[in-house]
Each structure stands twice: as structure tokens, then as C-alpha cells.
Amino acid sequence: MLAFKLAFKNLIGAGLKTWLNVLVLSLSFVIIIFYNSMMDGWDQQAQTDTIAWEIGQGQLWEKDYDPYDPYTLIDAHAPISPEMKSQVESDALVPVLITQASVYPQGRMQNILLKGIPSDQQLLDLPTSALGTDGDETKAIIGKRMAEATKLKEGDKVLLRWRDKNGTFDAREITIANVFDNNVPSIDNGQVWLPLSTLQDMTGMQDEATLLVTGSNYVPVNNENWTFKGHEFLLADLKTIIQSKKGSAAIMYILLLGIALLAIFDTQVFSIFRRQKEIGTYIALGMTRSQVVKLFTIEGGAHSILAAVVGAIYGIPLFIYLKNVGIPIPAASQNAGVPMASEIIPVYGISLILSTILLVVIAATIVSYLPARKIARMNPTEALKGKIQ
């Protein structure tokens, strides 16, 4: 306790240098917490959006379906069993039929995935109601990324070419009924959504689907044509990407923390050199060497406690502000293929904050201890003369 009291006195007494170190250290605190909370916020938002727009409570995949291999699409479709059909009625299942096709915006061919989905589904946030089948036009919806890439707008007509059941090419004009804003590139990039029944007619795959999205009221069915893929599987890629982004950001704050720790280390080395007389005096007054080592270690380590306090003073208002307004994300990063909103609401985990504080306190104490060990080998009479090099 005494050591803590003395350490803080000495530290505050050292003035400007202390506060500079504390400021740099507090910056690393705030940045570590800021960055991680942003990543956690992103992770959460990306998961929520992916669930709401694409995967629901999981998907039933036709056994041959492999999203990484478009050539499997030719075979990856199967009839929706009667048992499943009743669940489709109640919106517990939403069938999606997927096939390859091309569109010709401005006369230039672009390969796409053509996806059929019931226009009356409510399970996913996709604005499928815009696909309403009234009228003789074939209505389609596309995401904002696709719209940007193809320069298609609402109301535009575009030529669609696909292979029918017999493998022969067929073509017709479709109308873009809606361009939807979304944060989930995997339902957007290179994709055109049509009414399921239309696509089934076009391909001759009546009552068939490639996958079915499940809702929370879905009752598991046992059918060898379909395998259930849960969140853990469907969100795995997302998690991997976010983890790797977190990892590469760690380099940044390890660097920042490194600078702060180096500053403390330097201060310690300098202070032990400059304060030899003081060290000699402590020993003359009856402190043991290990008590003096402890005092200097705590003094250096206490930088981190001050930094936590200082970081809290400007960090807490900043974090609360960001929680309220969100962190704006540049448009470019939203096209990176990972679900990312234009604003991320940071998520502050108590364990993140505590472990960050613990990490910084331990690191600061260690870099303070290393130079302080030298005191234990000091000759007190030399220290009192202040002559040690």
C-alpha cells in the first residue's frame, strides 16, 4: 500500500513527462477498445443482416448444391416434398431456385445467377413483393451493387438469356421492378431475383428448388434430397473474415502499445539513472532493495492506471457518442464482399475492456520492472554519490 502511495506521488510529481507517457498509453487503450468494438459491432451487424436477408434460421440445401461451384447448379435442384410444401405455405420455409443465366445491359453480356423466390414470402427482408406477378412483364429485383455494376435502374428493361430444361437457349426481356438497398453482397453481386413460379416455368423445374430458407417455426423434415445447414456453417466464412481483419488490425495497436511501452521503459531507465541519489536515500532510510525495486516498478506500472483513467475521461464520451451515431464506413469498403452497413454501431464487451486494461497494466508493469531490477544490484554508497554510469 505504501509503495502505491509513494509511486503515485512520484509519478504525479514527475509532471509533464508522466502525462505525455500517460497520454500515449491512453491512446492505445482507446484505440484498442475502439477498433475491437467496431469489429464486434460489424460482426454482429453482418450476422444480423445475413440472417435477415439471406440465411434465416438456416437453409436446406439440395444435396448437390455447392455455392462455390456454379456448374453444379444444373443438377442441384429437387422437388419440394408435400411435407415441405405445407411449411412453405406458412412461411416456415422459403424455396429458392438458382440457375445460371446472362443479362445484356447496354448490349454487353454479363453472366449472372438467376434466383427465383416466392413473391409473397415474408421470411427474408428481400422486397419480393415488388415481384408481384400481375401484368405480362417479367419483373425482377436486383441489389444496389448489381444495379451499379450494370447501370440498371428501376423501370429499366434488360434482355435475359437462359437455358431451358432441354438445354436450349431462350431469351426474354425482364423489367427491373426494384433496386434494393442492403448490406449483404452475397444476395446482390451478379444476381437477379425473379418470382419463383416464373423461374420454375422458364426452366421447366415445376415445384423444384435449389435450397430452402428456414424460419423460426420450421419443423425439421427428414428427406435424403436435402441437408440442413445451420448458422454455424453458413456464418463460418463471415467469422473467418472478421477474425482475420481483427488480426491484421492487432498489428496496428501492438505497434502503438509498443511505442507507449517503449516510452515508459525509457522513462524508467532515465529515471533510475537520474534518481540514484534518491535510491541511495531510500536505502539509507531503511528500505530494502527489493522494496525500492517494487516502488519503481509500481511507479512505472502506475502509468497504465493513470492512462486508464485519462483514457476513460475522453474515451467514454467518445464511445457513447459513437454508440449513438454509429461509425460511418466508406462506401468502398462496403463492396468488399463482406456484409457491411454504411454505419456500424460499436459493441462494447465488458470482457474486451477488462482484458485490454489487464493487458496494458501487465505490459507496463513488466517494462517498468526490467530496468528497476538494476536497482537491486546497485551499491548504495555509489548510488548516494550519484556516480553510477
Binding site: I12, T281, M287, R289
Partner: protein, 236 residues
């Protein structure tokens, strides 16, 4: 000396390694100090005064022979034991005062007591008593940088005396003081010596200090060349 011996130095030699050889700073010293002595080590620069005080203060140890302080053989003490000996029984006063700059006068004086088990009110009383002895009760809250040289040295005396040590070692305590301050400080120390029966051992070149000594030990080239009782001026 009719009082009990509290410092006993027998056939003591101190050598320092210098380059490849050794330098003999103290050679075959034999000295006894009793309770309540007011003694001084005098001698030219380099004669070994500081070295001798450091050994008595258990900051250093003899190369040969023995130094026994308060019944403890200095050479055989562990770091911890010698720290305890200093903390309980030995006060130091340095030429440059060595006050701790970030602490107030009160805290500087209190420091030695913090290492022992005293309650806050015991400490407060002891610190105020010590500051009373040196006449600085009005500077309790000052920082060392705000004090004059004489005041700084008086704080150093209060810090050394606050724990009522058996032995007080003062290495050139008046070297940075003018005549008036020197006399004042010596009078204070002499008075404390009488009241508390503390053994004072000085090292000094200073004629003004010598006047106050009851015993003057002359060192030259690391040897005791004279050890005599002196009639102190201002003895009353």
C-alpha cells in the same frame, strides 16, 4: 567512556578494487563509540571519513576485521537485516540533504516512520515533535525546493531524528551552509544529543563543527592518527 559501547570497530581495513589493483581507503581501524557520544571524524579529503561512516551505517562492509553496530556484525548482515538496522537505529544526514523532492517537509520527515508500523496519529505526533526540535513547524506543507539551505538541512535532521535512532551519522552536514546556519544546526544537534542520548558521528573539514565536538578522531590516509576528547565550545 563509562557508557555501553554501541559501535565497535576492530582491526578493520577497507579496500576498493581500482583497475587491476586495490586501493586501501581504511587501514587497521580500531574504534569504540558509546551511547550519547558527540564525535567527529576529521581529516583531509580522501582520508576515509565517508568510507568509515558508510560502514558504520551498514551501507558498506569491511574488507578485513569487524565492525559491530548495536551488537550486529555488519559484514554478516543480509540486505534485509541491514535495512532493518538502518531503519530502526541509524539516522543519516547528508551533505546535500537528499530530501525527496516530490514530498512535502512533513512527508519527508514521515518517510522513515512509514517503513515501521506506526499509526497515522503516532506518526503525526512524532513528525511534529521532530519539526519542533528543528524549529520548522511552520513549513510542514512546503516542498524541499521552496526551502533555504539551512531549512533543508534542518528537515534532513528532523527526518534522521524522528525515529529517535541510537546512532546519527552526518557526513559534512554543514558544508553547504553559512556560518550562522551552521551554528544553529550544530546547537540543535547538540541539544538532541543530550536529550535523546543519540550517538552523533560527524565527518567534517569544518572548524565550526569541530568546536562542538566532545571527541575528535583525526584520520589521514585511512588511518586513525589522533583520537582525543575535546572540550566543546558552547557545551552548555
Amino acid at each position: 567512556m563509562n557508557t555501553a559501547s554501541i559501535i565497535s570497530i576492530k582491526n578493520m581495513t577497507k579496500r576498493f578494487p581500482v583497475g587491476k589493483g586495490e586501493f586501501t581507503a581504511l587501514e587497521n581501524i580500531n574504534l569504540e563509540f558509546g551511547e550519547g557520544e558527540f564525535a567527529g571524524l576529521v581529516g583531509p579529503s580522501g582520508s576515509g571519513k565517508t568510507t568509515l561512516l558508510n560502514i558504520i551505517g551498514s551501507l558498506d562492509s569491511p574488507t578485513e576485521g569487524t565492525a559491530t553496530v548495536m551488537g550486529k556484525n555488519i559484514a554478516q548482515l543480509s540486505h534485509k537485516e541491514s535495512a532493518l538496522l538502518r531503519n530502526l537505529h541509524i539516522g543519516f544526514i547528508f551533505q546535500s540533504y537528499n530530501l525527496l523532492p516530490v514530498y512535502t517537509v512533513f512527508e519527508n520527515v514521515e518517510f522513515a516512520l512509514l517503513l515501521q508500523n506506526h499509526t497515522a496519529s503516532e506518526r503525526r505526533k512524532a513528525v511534529m515533535d521532530a519539526l519542533e526540535w528543528v524549529g520548522l513547524t511552520d513549513k510542514v506543507k512546503s516542498k524541499p525546493a521552496m526551502l533555504s539551505g539551512g531549512e533543508g538541512q534542518r528537515v534532513a535532521i528532523a527526518r534522521a531524528m524522528v525515529k529517535r535512532p541510537k546512532i546519527l551519522l552526518a557526513d559534512e552536514p554543514s558544508a553547504n551552509l553559512d556560518a550562522k546556519n551552521s551554528h544553529q544546526i550544530l546547537k540543535t544537534m547538540k541539544q538532541l544529543n543530550k536529550e535523546l542520548k543519540t550517538t552523533f558521528i560527524f565527518s567534517t573539514h569544518d572548524e565550526k563543527v569541530m568546536q562542538y565536538l566532545d571527541r575528535t578522531i583525526s584520520l589521514a590516509d585511512g588511518k586513525v592518527v589522533k583520537d582525543e576528547l575535546t572540550v566543546a565550545a558552547n557545551a552548555g
